[in-house]
Amino acid sequence: MAGEIYNPNPTIFSPAQPAGRKSDFSGESLWIDEKVETHDDTDEVEPIDAEEIYGLIRTIYDPEHPNTLEELRIVSLPQINVNKNHVRIEFTPTIPHCGASTQLGLSIRVRLLRSLPARFKVDIYVKPGSHVSEHALNKQLNDKERVAAALENQALLSSVEQTLRAFSGRV
């Protein structure tokens, strides 16, 4: 990254709700320590939903700050739509002229490329009206060829890698 920082002082939000499904006793079952595992042995299919996808991308780091996309409210749960084999994600850059947005979108793209089954088609859009070159950005992020070309660029790839790094926990 060239030394320029697009937004030196972004707002940080505390995570709205604790992430993940509530495991505490919610009163739905009668007994407090009904074993959760019991219904794991069943063949019940748990489909991939918006929450799961949010879980995948919320821990991506912003390329400019030591904060996650969740903390900067760049992505949020309602901005993710899952429809059978189609995922649509909207993200909001912190400022309208943010030059790091392409990289950001690319990070999300790579993350999902690696973490979702191949049957999904993923569309990534900037939130309408949140970026000056919205149209160009959307085109860049959803064009297979362009994404592939961007990932050929070693420098770009390694900086994308950097933003995904903290996620896996074992670095």
Partner: protein
């Protein structure tokens, strides 16, 4: 004399150490003298042959080095010194001469006269650049010794010495020499008058800053860059005269360096400021602040930011060390920086505000006047911000910032051991008001609790009244959060718990009544999940708060009363909500007790009279009413847990009387001694759970008696006429009368615990009775397989009771199990039992007063593991071999890794075969073992290297849902797959990379969420 000459001649030819030793011995025993040696060496010392001269001086130095100090009198030291100095200008003799001088410099007879001669000799004849490292090291060491012993003499030389040394040390590069040189330089700078040479010293010390030396791998000298850094810092901080020159250099390094250099510079700055003094700090304060600001507000990483803050703290300390001005007059850097930060705090929700508050917290830790100023600026600002109606949205961020200031201020007071808080004192009311309001603002609860915690945990910061207010606010918050299930509830309870540790009145008078009253008197109906969650939350809160003995007493009284009220008469499906409610209450009691036992609270024991009879009363009131009313299994389990917890902590005498009562009830039906409470127990129904005609609901109660017997100590006698017979009757009951698995398990626990403690009284039972048991229940092929498998479990419990105390009889029991390995159908059960025997459990523990020998698991492993390995390798009989393999996987899972670590290389091929067994449990065990090895020492990690490819393909097979339906196996396989790249060399796995990534792509579509998550993690480690 002749002998000396002979030795000298021999040495000149041989160069061996022996002659040197002989010479030294001769000098020691006065057979010869140094003078004789010099005479004998005469021709060599002055020889025209370069080689001979070198050797001559070398021998002399070698002898002097080993020569005892008392043989070197003043005269000889003087002569030798002069002699050596004269040899310094001869390139062929300089090396041994320097060594000789080094030995001499340590002699007590080496006077200051010689000291000056030697250093002068060095300065005029020694050219450091021409010498090798080891020789230069000798020079430095000699100067070091002289400077240590004859400092005054050297001071006499003044400029001559300083200039000479500067010339000598200039350009040194070897870290070994530098360590000595830095030590010498520190002494010179500290003790000598260097005012005219500051720049020269600056040049020979600061030239090395920052240290970038990295020790080569396997460095035999063991010098780290840290050693060098410390030594150099010793020089840099030796005089304030460096101040001005140094600051420029530091600033330059700080602005341009790598993160490591930045950190080094910041640390060095922090120790230099106090030495260089306020004047220097003052003239650079602006520049320093500008540089530090960059590191703080745009940090490279958190560590560097921390160092920058530390350096900044020292800077402020130094600047304001002498001032005790009133805060109104505070001027200079602190004021300006403070104002700058406050300016940033106007936008509390931004990233920069987090950094700014760190700076302000740093101020709090500096001098009292600065701290006071910072607090007087920050706290009112934040308070005002919080109150401003325009800033409603930023309230959560504001409260967090305020909490940080409070924590910083409390940390300072804690360091000063003061109970009162003079810093926050004037603003305490405002702070409390903001925090209390913060508790009610959505999003800022967490911050408010963070701020309250340091205030409330200090004993006397808040007055009793204020504590009451805080408790009131938190209670309100908890009450409100019952409805909304806010995540900060735990923190709030933690805080109340802290308060109740020192001051429980407020909690018991304000919080508890509200929590108790939120427990309904009637169980919520089946479809009312909200009320159910509510009572569970209240119970969880009570569990956290009621650990203090008085509060716990209240808890027991209130909850037992509640139990009496809601206890269902029957346990059918229509009363299930009541049963679940009762279970939740009992669970709360059990969990609280368990924490109290862990923390060794002395009041637990008294609940043998207050709680246990009440529980028995409840249970018996149901059981004895009609034979078909059975108490719910889950309720019995948690009741049993409570009984065990209380009996565990009883003193032996009390245990004895409780055991008497319990056995009285169990054997003769005398229940009055153990049950006492408000429920009416129907008269006339005989209680005899061990009788063969007993109803199922009576038999269930064996769980409770088992729980009472298990923790009874060895010295307490079991009140039965014949212990062997009693155990035998239990075994019979187990196989003929027990009709629930839980009953059988309870009996097994009871037997195991008694066997463990009273093995010596049980000869009959352990030999004759159990032999019969073996033949009739396990060996007899006419019994069903499941019956025989069940009997093996009983067998393994008894074996384990013996193994845990390393009793010799255990061997017999284990041998029997091996005998079954050849028999299809039960060999797997026997094999798994071997693993079960080695594993830890909740019954045979020290807490339950069992006799547990140290290293018993290791002994057991040493006994069975070799046998199992041999069996698993023996391919003669497939059935036996497989059974051994099963035993291996089951054993290895249950024992500590250290116990088998040495066998690991030979185990791996066997474990890989274990992965082929169809049993999912075995596969999980095996993968778990690999995982454990991966977390171990690097030497263990590399063991799998040669099997890496096999492992990869096997794990891939085990993580596909279509090939492995059992989810735990899939998860374990994925986890291990994710670990492999970190333990196996890159070149081995690299060819597999694309294959693994492709295959894992399929697993990403696993039907289970947990599996998908692991697949994502694993795939990430390969695709990165």
């Amino acid at each position: 004399m002749e002998a000396t000459e002979r030795l000298v001649r021999t040495w000149m030819a041989s160069g061996r150490d022996e002659e040197v030793n002989d010479l030294v011995a001769a000098i020691e025993s006065d057979q010869t003298t140094l003078l004789n040696l010099v005479k004998a060496l005469g021709e060599y010392l002055t020889s025209e042959e370069d080689k001979d001269r070198t050797k001559g001086v070398e021998l002399l130095s070698a002898v002097i080095k080993k020569c005892p100090a008392e043989k070197l009198n003043r005269q000889s030291v003087r002569v030798l010194t002069t002699f050596y100095c004269s040899k310094l200008d001869d390139i062929h003799t300089i090396i041994p001469a320097l060594q000789g001088l080094h030995s001499l410099s340590g002699s007590p007879n080496f006077t200051s006269v010689e000291a000056t001669t030697v250093v002068k000799g060095f300065f005029s004849h020694v050219t450091m650049k021409a010498l090798t490292q080891s020789v230069r090291f000798v020079v430095y060491s000699t100067i070091d010794t002289i400077i240590a012993n004859h400092r005054e003499a050297l001071k006499g030389l003044d400029t001559e010495f300083i200039n000479g040394y500067l010339a000598l040390a200039d350009g040194e590069k070897d870290p070994r020499n530098l360590l000595v040189a830095f030590a010498i330089e520190r002494v010179i700078i500290l003790e000598f008058d260097i005012s005219k040479h500051v720049e020269s010293f600056y040049n020979i010390t600061f030239a090395y800053f920052p240290i970038t030396f990295r020790p080569p791998p396997n460095d035999p000298y063991g010098i780290t860059s840290e050693d060098l850094r410390e030594a150099l810092r010793g020089c840099l901080t030796a005089t304030p005269l460096f101040g001005i020159m140094a600051m420029d250099l530091f600033l330059e390094k700080l602005n341009a360096g790598s993160p490591a250099i930045k950190r080094d510079t910041l640390q060095t700055l922090a120790i230099c400021f106090p030495v260089y003094g306020p004047a220097t700090a003052h003239s650079f304060s602006r520049k320093l602040w500008n540089s530090l600001k960059l590191e703080i507000f745009q940090p490279v990483d958190a560590e560097t930011q921390g160092e920058a803050l530390k350096a900044f703290k020292v800077l402020i300390d130094t600047l304001y060390s002498e001032e005790t001005v009133d805060i109104i007059d505070l001027t200079g850097l602190a004021k300006d920086a403070c104002e700058e930060c406050i300016q940033i705090l106007k936008e509390p929700e931004k990233t920069q505000a987090k950094h700014a508050i760190k700076v302000l917290c740093t101020f709090v830790a500096t001098t009292p006047s600065v701290a006071k100023y910072a607090i007087s600026q920050t706290v009112p600002h934040l308070v005002q911000l919080f109150r401003s109606p325009d800033e409603v949205l930023t309230r959560p961020a504001t409260v967090v910032l305020l909490a940080e200031v409070i924590t910083a201020s409390r940390d300072v007071s804690k360091l000063q051991n003061s109970d009162t808080d003079t810093l926050l004192g004037p603003f305490q009311d405002d702070i409390l008001a903001v925090l209390a309001a913060g508790l009610k603002v959505s999003g800022s609860e967490k911050g408010a609790l963070q701020g309250l915690l340091p205030l409330a945990s200090a004993p006397s910061v808040l007055s009793d009244e204020e504590i009451g207010f805080v408790v009131h606010c938190i209670t309100e918050f908890i009450q409100a959060s019952v409805d909304s299930a806010v995540s900060s509830r735990d923190e709030a309870l933690e805080l109340l718990g802290t308060i109740s540790g020192s001051n429980h009145q407020h909690v018991s008078s304000q919080t508890l009544p509200i929590l108790f009253s939120s427990l309904p008197d009637h169980p919520p109906p089946r479809d009312d999940s909200a009320s159910r969650q509510k009572y569970w939350l209240s119970l969880q809160s009570l569990k956290k708060l009621c650990r203090h003995s008085e509060l716990f007493e209240t808890l027991v009284i209130r909850l037992t009363t509640k139990l009496d009220l809601i206890w269902p008469t029957t346990f059918e499906s229509e009363t299930e909500p009541a049963a679940a409610y009762a279970h939740a209450i009992l669970k709360t009691l059990g969990q609280t007790l368990s924490i109290k036992v862990e923390q060794r609270h002395p009041d637990v024991a008294k609940y043998v009279d207050r709680l246990l009879p009440r529980l028995f009363n409840l249970v018996l009131s149901t059981v004895l009413s009609t034979p078909d009313r059975r108490v719910d299994q889950r309720i019995l389990d948690v009741t049993a847990q409570i009984i065990t917890l209380v009996v565990q902590v009883l003193p032996p005498s009390r245990q004895q009387s409780y055991a008497n009562n319990a056995f009285g009830a169990l054997l003769t039906g005398n229940i009055n001694q153990i049950a006492n409470g408000h429920k009416i127990i129907p008269e006339g129904v005989k209680f005899h759970p061990l009788d063969k005609s007993a109803s199922a609901n009576q038999k269930d109660l064996i769980l409770l008696f088992g729980a009472a017997v298990v923790p009874i100590e060895e010295e307490v006698s079991i009140p039965v006429p014949d212990l062997s017979q009693f155990l035998q009757s239990l075994v019979v009951w187990h196989y003929s009368h027990a009709d629930e698995e839980a009953q059988k398990i309870a009996v097994e626990h009871m037997i195991a615990s008694i066997v463990n403690k009273h093995v010596d009284q049980l000869q009959d039972f352990l030999t004759a009775n159990l032999n019969a048991f073996w033949q009739q229940e396990i060996q007899d092929p006419s019994k069903t397989l499941s019956h025989r498998q069940r009997a093996i479990v009983t067998w393994s419990w008894i074996s384990k009771a013996l193994v845990v105390r390393s009793h010799p009889l255990a061997n017999d029991f284990i041998d029997h199990l091996f005998d079954l390995f050849g028999e299809e159908g039960i060999n797997w059960a026997a094999a798994k039992a071997l693993g079960q025997i080695g594993s830890g459990d909740e019954v045979l523990t020290k807490k339950n007063h069992c006799i547990v020998k140290v290293l018993h698991a290791q002994r057991y492993v040493a006994k069975v593991l070799p046998r199992i390995i041999a069996g698993a390798k023996d391919a003669n009989e497939r059935t036996r071999q497989t059974a051994h393999l099963v035993a291996l996987t089951s054993l290895i899972k249950s024992i500590p890794r250290a116990a088998y670590a040495q066998e690991l290389p030979s185990l791996i091929p066997l474990l890989l075969r274990g992965l082929e067994l169809p049993d999912p449990e075995i596969r999980v065990n095996v993968i778990g073992t690999f995982q454990a090895a991966a977390e171990g020492d690097p030497s263990e990690q590399s063991i799998v290297e040669e099997h890496a490819l096999t492992l990869v393909s096997s794990m891939l097979k085990n993580c596909m849902v279509d090939q492995m339906p059992a989810m735990p196996v899939r998860i374990a396989a994925l986890k291990y797959l994710g670990v492999l790249p970190s333990i196996v060399r890159y070149n081995i796995l690299h060819p597999q990379k694309s294959h693994v990534v492709r295959e894992l792509g399929k697993v990403l579509d696993d039907p289970k969420r947990v599996v998908r998550k692991e697949a994502v993690d694993a795939r990430f480690t390969y695709s990165g």
